[in-house]
């Protein structure tokens, strides 16, 4: 640990004044994310237009020439993610922006990014799937994909913002996390947030903390590109500085040379996130201490759920609200802790059950888990969430497995037919 940045010592760096467009704006979430990226010092976006994330790319393209950045619209999503990996290794902060099918196309190179421990940010404005699905409408069904989509074992960080202001704030946070842990950080927004227009306040530059890239500072000949610091993250060097880098997507040793079987060190790719999870995870909790039922939600659903929760509280039910700001790594400990205190978790999400499996896993059978699914196309009817809470509060029995709450939409479509 003689070289590189000491992991414990925090270097405080502020955003560059030129990059920050201080002021109040009335913009949608996509644009806010682009502004956030610029404020975070992102200088390169390789993108390919896909609804509903195009606006973010466009906004970046408009701003980039003024802040010394550059953009390229690549020929496809495979190209756009590969190009940002290249840009990161030549020293820039970089981001790519996509949705739905584009995300699926990126899978191979997300794996490469994880393998090369390349810090980059990926903004995925989720739409309804599978396949082309509903291009202009919301979904949250890529959550598991973001974690498991590429071949092999790796870990990523995923953040799910719920308003344009958060799109701005958390894009900056995403860049900071990716620089800190040298891993892909995904902003798993959804179409609703991406296309929602609200007031966004961009603070002054010196109010924005920026995590600098951990560049290696020791003698060149001693540099080992994959030799980690104490926090399991190796310092980085950039191409063209004379380090004779050898960076390969093959399984490699500390030097970067391929090995023919994995070594215990290769497990670092997952451990650097798993063991640092407590530092990464951010949660918003509300009235959770004496709650019987806790609603676990993320992204736009957390705003929709509030209406259901208010309704339930008005009926005298004790409902807490746990909003996952970071979805991956999953807040295992917190859920396990809560599971011993509460009767049930209610998990509304715009998919047919993804994060709910994680909640169930971490609840260890201590509390019931109620899923309120929504196929996509729009957000939940708050009424459904309210009913699910009501049911969860009343259910005395421990029910094995996930309990799916039958929504109004379900009844409308499937029970009418049968």
């Amino acid at each position: 640990m003689a070289f590189g940045i000491e992991a414990e010592k925090e270097v405080i760096m502020k955003a560059n004044k030129k990059d920050v467009l201080t002021g109040s704006y009335y913009i949608d979430g996509d644009v806010a994310a682009a502004y956030g990226a610029i404020a975070a010092g992102c200088k390169f976006v390789g993108g390919y237009p896909i609804t509903p994330s195009t606006e973010a790319f466009e906004a970046f393209v408009h701003r980039a020439p003024y802040v010394g950045g550059i953009t390229i619209q690549m020929e496809d999503e495979l190209g756009s993610i590969a190009s940002i990996l290249g840009a990161v290794w030549s020293g820039k902060k970089a981001m790519t922006i996509t949705s739905g099918p584009g995300f699926s196309l990126m899978m191979e190179n997300i794996g490469l990014g994880a393998m090369l421990e390349t810090p980059f940010v990926l903004l995925n404005v989720q739409r309804s799937g599978p396949s082309t699905g509903l291009p202009t409408q919301a979904g949250q069904a890529d959550m598991m994909q973001s974690r498991w989509g590429a071949n092999g074992d790796y870990e990523i960080i995923a953040i799910s913002p719920d308003s344009p202001q958060e799109m701005f704030d958390y894009t900056i946070k995403a860049f900071n996390l990716s620089e800190k842990y040298r891993c892909p950080v995904m902003i798993m927004a959804d179409e609703c947030v991406g296309h929602m227009t609200e007031k966004v306040v961009v603070p002054e530059a010196d109010k924005i903390n920026i995590e600098p890239r951990r560049f290696y500072k020791g003698p060149k000949e001693k540099y080992l590109p994959f030799k980690p610091d104490k926090d399991l993250v190796p310092p980085m060097a950039k191409a063209g500085d004379g380090y004779k880098l050898h960076i390969s997507g093959l399984t490699h040793d500390e030097k970067g040379y391929p090995t023919f079987s994995q070594t215990p060190d290769t497990k670092r790719l997952v451990d650097k996130i798993r063991l640092n999870a407590d530092k990464i995870i951010e949660l918003n909790e509300d009235e959770i201490d004496d709650a019987d039922v806790v609603v676990v939600s993320y992204g736009i659903t957390s705003r929709v759920a509030i209406r259901g929760i208010e309704q339930a509280r008005a009926k005298g039910l004790k409902v807490g609200n746990l909003r996952l700001v970071t979805v991956w790594p999953f807040p295992e400990k917190r859920i396990a802790e809560l599971s011993k205190k509460v009767k049930a978790f209610v998990v509304p999400e715009i998919n047919y059950g993804q994060i709910v499996y994680e909640v169930e896993r971490c609840a260890h059978g201590n509390a019931n888990v109620v899923l309120v699914p929504h196929g996509g196309g729009f957000v939940h009817n708050p009424e459904d969430i309210f009913k699910a809470i009501k049911y969860a509060a009343q259910e005395k029995k421990k029910v094995e497995g996930i309990i799916e709450h039958k929504t109004e939409l379900y009844r409308l479509i499937h029970e009418k037919n049968s």
């Binding site: 396949s131 989509g149 071949n151 092999g152 994995q262």
Partner: protein
């Protein structure tokens, strides 16, 4: 349906896993392979090409995996049973089209010979790192069927099964093998043609103008037609109604996407297959699949010598996950031990299903080679000694 004797190489042959898969495919009636070469799945391609002349099968090597699967989907709609073979990052590239296959409800089989990852990893290294990807890798909600053989014989059998499932449920079915099984050569018994039980897609038989491409029958699977039969249908990857036309509402999404999942979950009992050995009075149950399961049996016999009551539970169908059975087992035993050649994938799923009823020990095995029985045995012993309940996935 009877198999076409042309493709069935009845008899006993010395085949590698890769070759057995192709023989299985031919026996199942597969006549189209769209592929892009990637180790360690190459022998499969070779075998297909060698035999394609004899069985009148069509082969195309496309420019990448993306188009390979696209061609497979296209060919499937012409009425040919179709498949693709890939590995590692090739599967990552196919993700978009797995989604399309799900949405269009196109029967096809994808063989993934797993290699060590992430990214390029170790090209010929044994691994099981794509199990979660097989379930969650494409965007949006879907359910799929994933089978894992643990011997060339099973490669043959399960390939036929995979085709049967894919035709029956109109879904892309994944066969997850690994570099070890794929290259291991053993004797494979191929039964006579008349003993093969094949399922072919249900074709629509009604009047041409009455055909609705996505009107589900009572099994939630719509009957299919072939391109060129005069039905003049339209299909789209967009959310669609019964006619196959895009409709942009959440009602339609619910009506369109949920059955895609329910058609599998509803029949999961018929799909799920697993192998249990001495689990009845076991204290510890080892859960394994694919390559690791070949080592587990030895490890168990070692552990038994130490007086530990160990059972074995081998997953043959990984997805849909045999949730019910695992839940039941969890209530009876002290611990699960899960050796996997990855850093924890199915282990999470088992932790979920154990629901706090028993301890869950997970043994991450480094990719590239097989674990030794002794190592696994040690883990079993460690697991059996832990008497306290720990509400957490325990890594050994």
């Amino acid at each position: 349906m009877k198999a076409n004797s042309k493709g069935v190489l009845t008899g006993t042959h010395n085949l590698s896993g890769n070759e057995a898969i192709i023989e299985g495919a031919f026996a199942a009636g597969c006549r189209f392979l769209g592929v892009y070469p990637i180790s360690p799945s190459l022998e499969a391609t070779d075998r297909f090409l060698q035999r394609s002349g004899e069985v009148d099968a069509t082969f195309v090597q496309m420019e990448d995996e993306i188009s390979a699967l696209a061609a497979v989907l296209g060919a499937s709609w012409t009425g040919k049973k179709s498949m693709s073979v890939t590995s590692g990052s090739g599967l990552s590239n196919m993700m978009e089209h797995i989604g399309l296959g799900i949405m269009l409800q196109t029967p096809c089989v994808i063989v993934n010979v797993q290699r060590t990852g992430p990214s390029l990893g170790i090209p010929n290294g044994v691994a099981q790192g794509d199990t979660m990807q097989a379930r969650w890798g494409s965007h949006g909600d879907y359910e799929t069927i994933v089978l894992t053989p643990n011997s060339p014989q099973e490669c043959f059998d399960l390939t036929i099964k995979a085709f049967n499932f894919s035709e029956r449920f109109r879904v892309p079915v994944l066969l997850l093998t690994d570099a070890y099984i794929a290259q291991k050569k053993t004797l494979v018994k191929i039964p006579p043609t008349k003993d093969l039980k094949l399922i072919s897609r249900k074709l629509f038989k009604g009047a041409k103008n009455k055909y609705l491409p996505y009107k589900n029958d009572k099994n939630l699977v719509p009957p299919m037609v072939n391109v060129g039969d005069g039905y003049r249908f339209h299909v789209t990857g967009l959310t669609h109604d019964e006619r196959g036309y895009p409709v942009m509402t959440s009602e339609c999404q619910e009506a369109c996407v949920r059955p895609l999942m329910e058609k599998i979950t509803k029949y999961q009992d018929e799909i799920i297959e697993y192998e249990e050995v001495e689990t009845d009075d076991a204290d510890v149950v080892v859960i394994s699949y694919g390559a690791t399961s070949t080592v587990v049996s030895k490890a168990i016999s070692l552990a038994k010598k130490d007086g530990i009551k160990v059972g074995s539970f081998r997953l043959i169908t990984i997805w849909p996950f045999p949730e019910k059975r695992v839940r039941k087992l969890a209530q009876k035993i002290d611990a699960f031990v899960i050796p996997e050649i990855n850093f924890g994938q199915i282990a999470f799923e088992i932790e979920r299903c154990a629901a706090g009823n028993c301890n869950v020990f997970f043994v991450p095995i480094l990719g590239g080679g097989l674990p030794t029985p002794e190592d696994i045995c040690k883990s079993i012993i460690k697991a059996s000694k832990e008497k306290k309940k720990i509400e957490k996935l325990i890594e050994l």
